[in-house]
Every structure is written in C-alpha cells, then in structure tokens.
Amino acid sequence: MRFFLEVLISGLLSGVMYSLVALGFVLIYKASGVFNFAQGAMVYLAALSVVGCMEKGVPLWLAIILAFIIMTLFGIATEKFVLRKLVNQPPITLFMATIGLAFFIEGLAPMVFGSDPRALDIGIVDEPIEAILNSWGMVISKFDLVAAAIAALLVTTLALFFQYTRIGRALRAVADDHQAALSIGIPLQHIWAIVWGVAGFVALVAGMLWGARNGVQFALTFTALKALPVLIIGGFTSVPGAIVGGLIIGASEKLAEIYLPPLMESAFGGNFGGIEGWFPYVLALGFLLIRPEGLFGEKHIDRV
C-alpha cells in the first residue's frame, strides 16, 4: 500500500508538470480558438533565454525578467507578423501557422543562445523530504512540491483573471467569434498580443521548472507531447481543466507503468514496459469517445 501511494503521489506531482505546459495551450486556444503547436518550442525558448542571459553574467532574477521581456516581445511580434494577417481565416490556417512558428523558434533559439544542454539552478534541490522519508518511508520530492505550489498559484490567478477582469471577458469573447468581438469594439490585436504574452509567461515558468529538473536543452520541446492528452481530458478551454487533466494523466500513467507490465507479462510472456509513452493517448482516446469536449471543456453546439 505504501508503494502504491508513493507511485500515486509521484504521478500526481508529475502531472502538475504536464499541466504547466498544457496551460499555455489553453490560454492561446481560449483567445484564438487555435491549437498552438509552438507551445513546446516556446517553453524551450523561454528556458534558453534564462540560461543564455545568465551565461552573460546576469543574475537569475534579472535573467527571468529579461526572459519575460523576450517572451512578451515574441508574443507581440507573433501577433503583428503572423496572426494579424490571418484574422477570420479557418482555424486550420492558424494551426498551420503555429507549426511554422515552432520550426522557426527551434531554429532561432539555439542559433542565438547556443545548443549545448545546460544546467539551470533555481535554488530548489530535487531531493526527497527527509521527514516524510523517515516517518513514512516515502520519496516525495521538495522540487515537485514547489512545482505543484507554483502551478496552483498560476491556475488560481489565471482562472480569476479570465472570470473577473474586463480583459478576461474580452478574451473569452474573442475566442467565441473573432468577427463578433471586433464588431462590438473589442481590440482583437491587443487581446491577442496580451494572450500570447501571458502564454509566454506560462512557458517561462514551465521552461524554468522543466529546465531545472532535466537541463535546458532541445528536448524541452518534447514537453508538449504530454500536453495533448492532458488537454483532451481536461478540455481545451478550461484552465482548471488543464490541472485536473494533468493530474489524471500523471497518476494513471505512473500506475500503469508499474502495475500493467506484470499483468501483460503473465498474459503474453516477454518483457513489457515503457507504457507511459502510449498510455496517456489511449486514455485520451477513451475520453474522446465518451466526453469529446473533455471534463471541463465547453460543449460545442452548431445551429443548423
């Protein structure tokens, strides 16, 4: 039972890390109705900006501020040079534009900051909490707990922002219908620039935590891989959904990784494992069949 709990908690905490990446997708989707393929690349760019600045002798706090400025400028540039030309185009056009954007970032970021994998020390050691280890014999990482706290803070702030501020309401209006939003005087360009800036900030937080955990390197772009099933389960338009989806994916994939292989081995023979690579997608597929809009997503109804 202790081991089961240990795996479950570890999975939930891993899920929070997935949620941090998924949040960026949700923000862009809410504001523009497009799945931003470049979110993983933005995580990479943000983390690389921090270590790139630090290598020039800039202290961490200032590097974070500079990286935030870089991400905001990037967001504004994306709106000005990519999205503005595509207003009222079908979502697939916007989606294709983000694919191009992803390749652009993946080429540009290492060209500017170098491609070597680098360590990022944000002052939180990824070690077990002694008290829990001694009393319960369970490994719970300090780092994972801090990441969970940061994610909780982000989600609360973003949920309140969307629900109770004028900009938040404008964002939701833009997401529903670009043209209708424009017709009632909502400044679409400003809204998109703001939301890409906020998504850049979320990418910065995710990039720093993932970078501190595994090193800052090209593989940060892969963090987006797990965001897709998280979004399918939580819903593409829900900030709290990103968290719940992340928790479900994290916990279920870790439990599956531990407890499914012995069952599969006894049934089919051989050696099984590496299940967490595909399990989240199978789970997401199941959700798509039962609840296509996700747990917290908005039901899409077309009037005929």
Binding site: G107, V112, W210, Q217, F222, I258, G274
Partner: protein, 438 residues
C-alpha cells in the same frame, strides 16, 4: 551580443567547403553530420573533432603520402530520411574516392547498409549500428569498429565483477534502457551473462524521450539492486541522474553506456551526476599528445572547426578525432596495398578496414596512445577490439577508473554469428568464405 554570428560563419564555411570540388588527386570524405536539431550539440563536438583531424593531417603532413584530404558535409539533423538523402547526394563523388562514412546514428546506419554494400562504399559504425555486422562474411561493407553494445555490456559486467571480488552470484542488477533498438540490443548478451554469472537481471524500459522516469526509479528503489546498468540517450540521461538522486540511489552504483557518458550528459544534471560512471572507448582530456598537437597546429593556424573551443578535449570531441584517426589509418593501409600517393576507392578502403592493425606502438607514433584501444580487424571480426574503459564523473570532468576491459568474446561473438546468419538467410546472401580472404 549573442552567438548568432558563429552559426552564420559556420554556414558560410560549409558553403565554402561544399564548393571545394574534389580533384582527381584528392581523397574525398563524405560526411553525413548533424550539427543542428535535437542532438546538434553532440554532433558539433564529434564532427568538430573529426574535421579537425582531417585538417591536421593536411596541415602537418600535407595529406596522406601527398594526397590531400577533402570533404563535404551534409546536415542530417539525426533524421534517417535526411541521412539517406545526404548519402544519395554525395555518393557519385564517393564512388570515385572515399573515406568510410560515419553516420553516428544507428537508424541512418541501418538505412544505408544495403545501399552502401551495393555501391561499394564502406560504413564505419563505431560502437553503434548493426552490431551483427561484426561478422564480415555477411556484411562486407559495414564495420562496427572498436566495440559493440553487447561487448560493452559484457565489459561493464566484468568491471562490476572485479569490484565484487570476482563474483556476481546472487547479485541483483537492473538494466534501465531506452525502449528502442539501441536500448534492446544488449539484452541478449546480458541474459547470457546472467545465466553464466548467476545474477538476477531486471529489465526496465523507458519510453522515448525519457524526460519522465519517476515510476521507473520508484521501481528501482523498491527492487533495491546492487547496480544499475544504464542505456540512455539524450534527455533520458540527465533525467535518470536527477531521478536517481531523488530516490537516493548511489550514482557510484550506476554505470552507463558510451551514449550516456559525455559532458553533454552530465553537466546539465549538475551535482546529481557526481560519482556516476560510464563506459567509453576513448578518453577525454587535452593532455593526450595528439589532441594537444591538434590545438597547436590546427587552431594555431586559425583553421579549427569548433565554434566553442572549450569543447576541445571533451569525450565527444576526442571520439571524433579517434574516428578520424581510424579512417585515416585505413586510407594509409589502402594506399600501402594499392599504390602510395593515389586516392583510394570504396573497395580498397573496405579491404583496409578489414585488415586494420593499429597497435599501441602505432598509436604512440600518432600521439594517440591510450586515446583509444589497439585494433586488429579481420573478415570474421569487423569489431577489432571489444574493449572499453570505465570512467567516472568527478563533478567537473571524466576520469578513467579502469584500464581497457574486453567483453567476453567467447560468449558474445557467437551471438553475432547467429544473428548475421539469420540476416543472410532473410536477404538471400551467400556469406563469403573468410578463410579465403587475405
């Protein structure tokens, strides 16, 4: 402010090199490299070392017996399709004269084996690739030189056995591996070793890319093994080191493969990497006479390939130099047999690769003694060495903690033979009679 000028410069230099036509008197090297993309950092070091040595031979000796070395690089981004495309682009030139192609990618090597055999262009797969190509009777143009995954795993076990006073009986060893062909290759060898040495082998795969391993490491903690043998790649390496730290598994009991034993693997993991060990078939450091001389001759002349000179002497840089040393030695051997002072073609280089005999004395002449192990190849043994050293990360650099260790050849090589025969049967290949090869 930032590093953008260097890649632009590199691009300009690459274009200049591309336009450098190989004349009939020059020896051509087709280089399928990856300097950008997900594993670009590794490629920059390896191919930096490779190109620097070719430049060194030109600058120091005026080429090989007066034959100047020229090369063309084609960027694969570690992508199999692009690797094949690059090969096709360069093969017309390579059919005239060629050095062996180093793909530094098992996937690209697999994709090229049949084509290269047909085109008579030799492939060198140092420590990777299709490992049953050790059997040259079935794979005449493929050379998994120096060592293979299986021999490496066997050598790691020999090292552990020595630490355990000569016995692995009753020990528990976890094999944590990248769930791919690369990760799975040593399993048969490890299973055979487990039977022979009576230890318990627990296999734990990690799905690509391996940036999440908490479940695997909780399982390792629960199993409480004596050692973890680790076959990682890319981000999986740093993640494993951090995860080992998280569950409190001693890094001194963790031994990686040579794909998991470079500075690129340990530096990003910070303190978590300290004490971790890995196998290697070449040592790091600028104190190797050849590396020091390359710095003097090539970088002194302002012709160094590295954008970041701090990579000089790193594991992957020195590996690139080692690969180039073996390639150039093969060309020397081919010239010695087929005519000194003339470029050699793929068939001639193939013969030379199959008849390499690089002794310690020869390595000393080159200034590469102890940089890599001595090598003697033959038709039945395209590996030629099977030796690795174990090195340990001291927090700042890799330090060798063993001499050259050879895997259990009697146990492992018959596995290659069986696999190669199976391949020959599938592809309808009649193996050469190695007894008749000179």
């Amino acid at each position: 402010m930032f590093a953008y000028r260097k890649p632009l410069l590199m691009t300009a230099v690459s274009l200049a090199l591309l336009s450098q036509a190989a004349s009939a008197e020059d020896q051509f090297f087709p280089i399928t490299s990856y300097r950008v993309g997900p594993y670009g950092a590794n490629g920059q070091s390896f191919y930096g070392g490779f190109v620097d040595y070719l430049n060194y031979v030109n600058l120091k000796d005026g080429g090989i017996n007066g034959v100047k070395l020229v090369w063309e690089e084609c960027e694969t981004e570690y992508n199999n399709a692009k690797g094949v495309e690059c090969y096709e682009r360069m093969k017309a030139k390579a059919k005239v004269s060629t050095g062996p192609i180093h793909t530094m990618s098992t996937g690209v090597a697999y994709a090229l084996i049949d084509k290269a055999t047909e085109d008579k262009i030799p492939l060198a797969m140092m420590g990777y690739g299709r490992t049953d190509a050790v059997d040259g009777s079935v794979f005449p143009y493929a050379f998994p030189l120096v060592t293979t995954y299986q021999m490496q795993a066997s050598a790691i076990l020999k090292f552990i056995k020595d630490k355990e006073k000569g016995s692995l009986d009753g020990k528990k060893i976890v094999f944590l591996y990248h769930d791919s062909a690369y990760g799975k290759e040593p399993i048969v060898a490890l299973q055979e070793e487990a039977k022979l040495n009576k230890f318990t082998l627990i296999q734990i795969p990690v799905a690509h890319p391996g940036n999440e391993q908490s479940a695997q490491w909780l399982k390792i903690r629960q199993e409480n093994p004596d050692y973890v043998i680790f076959w990682g790649w890319g981000v999986m390496n740093q993640t494993a080191l951090k995860a080992a730290q998280k569950v409190g598994f001693a890094r001194e009991k963790m031994i990686g493969s040579w794909w998991a034993g470079s500075e690129e693997d340990t530096v990003p993991a910070g303190d978590a990497a300290k004490g971790y060990m890995a196998a290697t078939w070449n040592v790091a450091g600028k104190d190797v006479p050849l590396i020091a001389d390359i710095e003097k001759v090539v970088y002194g002349a302002g012709k160094g390939d590295l954008q970041d000179k701090t990579k000089l002497g790193t594991i992957l840089y020195n590996r690139g130099v080692s690969a180039a040393v073996l390639s150039v030695e093969a060309l020397r051997g081919a010239q010695a047999k087929y005519g000194k002072g003339k470029p050699v073609n793929g068939e001639q280089v193939r013969w030379a690769l199959e008849n390499l005999n690089i002794t310690d004395a020869r390595l000393k002449e080159i200034g590469a003694v102890n940089l890599l192990p001595p090598i003697k190849t033959s038709c039945t043994n395209h590996e030629g060495s099977g030796m690795v050293k174990i090195q340990q990360w001291d927090g700042a650099k890799w330090v060798p903690v063993s001499g050259w260790i050879e895997g259990n050849k009697e146990l492992i090589h018959p596995l290659f033979k069986t696999s190669a025969q199976q391949y020959a049967k599938e592809k309808n290949i009649t193996p050469r009679d190695c007894a008749k090869e000179s």
